[in-house]
């Protein structure tokens, strides 16, 4: 009787210890994933900022004027050419 009780208690302790170890590892893994996700989110936000800046840099009026003039052969409208802006 005592032996059976001892075996049950022993197995329970072993199971709980195993679960505790598994939980600890899970916590590490989840914490790691959460950290990675947060860094990923921060990187994405940084990319958005960087792309916004790149867009602003590429579409700056001075550059567009140069491209229109040099690459597309466009010229500013002559006086009086623009009637319906």
């Amino acid at each position: 009787m005592m032996l059976r009780l001892g075996i049950v208690v022993g197995l329970s302790v072993a199971a709980m210890a195993t679960a505790q170890i598994w939980l600890a590892h899970s916590r590490y893994a989840i914490a790691h994933e959460a950290t990675l996700a947060r860094h990923h989110m921060e990187d994405m936000q940084a990319d958005i900022n960087r792309l916004g800046l790149e867009l602003a840099s590429l579409s700056r009026p001075e550059r567009l004027r140069e491209l229109a003039k040099d690459r597309l052969g466009m010229a500013p409208p002559l006086p009086g050419q623009v009637w319906r802006p």
Binding site: R27, Y28, I30, A31, H32, A34, T35, A46, N49, R50, G52, L53, L55, A56, S57, S59, R60, P61, E62, R65, P76, P77, P79, G80, V82, W83, R84, P85
Partner: protein, 630 residues
């Protein structure tokens, strides 16, 4: 077992039990010591090992233009730091090569210090990667926020720049720093014995990015204004120039630029003297561009009417011991003529008549001598001496813009009053910022009358003819002023050329002020600054959707005739050409016939243009050419 051996075994057992008891007692005492007496300190140490606080820098707020385009943005860039004691000396050369730095500088930095030190801040990611790939002990990479302004020199003076500590040092970045700067966050992170992050970290203070700022400035207009200014200043081989473009209805500053400019993304490469926004910090004598306000003061005094005429002394007039000259000697001019011909003598006589107090009052009302209140640091109030200190000479010279100083922004704000029918609006850069409510500072009829006169000043016969873009009418005034020298006098041969005006003249959508310092090819505002005004106006008006008006519209020209006061034309002195604007062909023929002048006609309808200009001298039998429009 013999008795003696039994005693021996018992003694040994007693010794072992005693030792065990002592050992257990020591353990109990140590446990009590650790758990009881040393508990608080040990708990603190454990927590410190388990917990770690991280400071998280927050980015500055974005600055955008009126159409939401990015003018300034913060992005994270790497910086390289080191724990000086931990970096092996034999790796110094590798570090210097990867960082593209002088080896002696690296040695000095790492040998003279202990602990943390910055090696290179805010560098490009490729260079940082090269350094980190070397895996040098003690060398670390940190991420910092860096400010970028995509328009570079075009917005350099306006926006200013940000230091490595993330605080604004010049321009709007400085004056709006409190709003733009983000709040640093602090996070408490739990770690295990191996240093891995555990769940359950808490924010002690969440990082808060700086508030975004939206300006009234339009990137396209800013770029056009800057390009036109650069071209104009270079053409004239001038030293520098400034331009301010405002929307008069609400005081919105659409563009503000100076040349030479600097690139705020690499501001350290430029001298501090090049950083200042001269459109708000530097004073200049406005010269004749101040005359519209002298005319306004004269009209407000009630002593003078638009039809009043002033004898302009054939270009030479003595006030006390000072002689005033006109570039174009004239005899009789009405108030419109004083502006159109830019007569210093006419303006001086008006000011002398109304007195210093009345002129000072008007100049003060339009903002001369007061800061405009714009969101920029270092703004100059200009210079307007108290009227008690004005003698006859000062009264006369201030009337044509000498002995008084304004900033380009002040002058633009004052011209907005004329464009707004006498209502002063505070210039503003930042949308949503509180400003003083609009205030009437001049009766509407005076503002409208002066604006109407300014149209003539920018007519084909006025000094500002080169400011007029095709299809539009401009109301504006040229100014040419000698630059002051260090000794309180005027520097010989150094001039500032000014043009200030509004366009379209009848319903102004833009007020533009252009100043050019020390031009070499010409010194006159009408030749140097007016073309810059025209280039900006002709590009910006279509962009704003303002269609050019046909100059053939009879209603347009008839309105000019009203402003020109027909009574003047009938009273034009003998030997001078009367004004024929707005007259029918029959009326024009009749008026010229009475003076024995010939008439050459182009087109049909009403007189839209004439040559020679009204009030010009013409001998009997001379020919007057007129262009008529249906």
């Amino acid at each position: 077992m013999s008795a003696s051996k039994e005693v021996y075994v018992r003694r040994r057992l007693e010794v072992v039990v005693g030792l065990l008891a002592i050992g257990f007692a020591i353990l109990v005492i140590r446990a009590i010591d650790l758990q009881w007496y040393q508990s608080p300190q040990l708990r603190d140490r454990a927590e410190k090992q388990r917990q770690r606080q991280f400071a998280i820098a927050a980015p500055r707020g974005t600055i955008k233009d009126a159409k939401g385009r990015v003018l300034a943005e913060s992005i994270e860039v790497p910086s390289i730091s080191a724990i000086a004691d931990e970096v092996p000396e034999n790796r110094f050369p590798d570090l210097a090569t990867a960082l593209n730095m002088d080896l002696h500088r690296i040695q000095r930095k790492l040998k003279s210090q202990h602990g943390f030190t910055w090696l290179a801040r805010q560098i490009d990611p490729a260079r940082a990667k090269r350094v980190m790939d070397l895996h040098i002990p003690g060398v670390r990479q940190e991420m910092e926020w860096r400010r970028y302004q995509p328009l570079g020199p075009e917005t350099g003076h306006l926006l200013g720049f940000v230091g490595v500590d993330g605080h604004g040092l010049e321009g709007l970045e400085y004056s709006l720093d409190r709003q733009l700067v983000g709040r640093q966050g602090r996070e408490l992170v739990l770690r295990d014995a191996r240093g891995h992050t555990l769940p359950g970290g808490v924010w002690l203070q969440k990082p808060e990015p700086g508030a975004p700022v939206k300006l009234y400035v339009d990137a396209t207009i800013q770029s056009l204004a800057y390009a036109a200014l650069v071209e104009g200043v270079k053409q004239q081989h001038a030293k520098s120039g400034s331009i301010v473009v405002m929307r008069p209805q609400d005081g919105a500053v659409l563009a503000m630029a100076n040349w030479p400019s600097y690139n705020p993304n690499s501001f350290r490469k430029f001298k501090p003297s090049e950083w200042r926004n001269r459109a708000v910090t530097d004073m200049l004598e406005p010269g004749s561009a101040l005359k519209p306000f002298t005319i306004a003061a004269a009209l407000e005094s009630g002593h003078w009417k638009t039809s009043s005429r002033v004898f302009c002394e054939n270009g030479r007039f003595r006030v006390a011991n000072y002689v005033i000259h006109d570039d174009h000697p004239e005899q009789w001019l009405n108030l419109t003529g004083i502006l159109a011909k830019s007569s210093n003598i006419g303006a001086a006589k008006l000011a002398t008549d109304i007195g210093p107090k009345a002129l000072h009052h008007m100049l003060s009302l339009v903002g001369i001598g007061h800061r405009t209140g714009i969101d920029l640091s270092g703004e100059s109030p200009g210079m307007l001496l108290p009227s008690e200190r004005w003698g006859p000479v000062e009264t006369a010279t201030i009337a044509f813009g000498q002995g008084v100083a304004v900033t380009p922004l002040q002058l633009a704000t004052a011209f907005c009053i004329l464009a707004n029918g006498g209502i002063h609006v505070e210039p503003k850069l930042v949308q949503g910022a509180s400003t003083r409510p609009p205030e009437r500072v001049m009766p509407q009829y005076i503002a409208d009358t002066v604006r109407s006169m300014l149209k003539d000043a920018a007519s084909p016969d006025g000094t500002g003819a080169l400011a007029v873009p095709a299809g539009y009418r401009v109301a504006g005034k040229t100014g040419t002023a000698q630059m002051p020298d260090r000794h309180g006098g005027y520097a010989k041969g150094k001039y500032t050329a000014v043009f200030a005006g509004m366009v379209p003249a009848d319903h102004p959508r833009l007020v533009i002020v252009v100043t050019v310092d020390q031009p070499e090819k010409s010194i006159y505002g009408g030749v140097v600054s007016a073309p810059i005004f025209r280039n900006v106006a002709s590009a910006v008006l279509p962009y704003l959707g303002v269609a050019p008006k046909e100059q053939s519209s009879p209603s347009l020209w008839r309105s000019i005739a009203v402003a020109d006061h027909p009574s003047d034309t009938s009273s034009a002195p003998t030997g001078t050409v009367p004004s024929l604007f707005g007259k029918s062909l029959r009326q024009a023929r009749s008026m010229l016939a009475s003076r024995d002048y010939q008439l050459h006609v182009h087109g049909s309808g009403w007189v839209a243009k004439q040559s020679p200009s009204p009030f010009s001298k013409l001998p009997e039998g001379g020919a007057v050419e007129v262009w008529l429009n249906d």
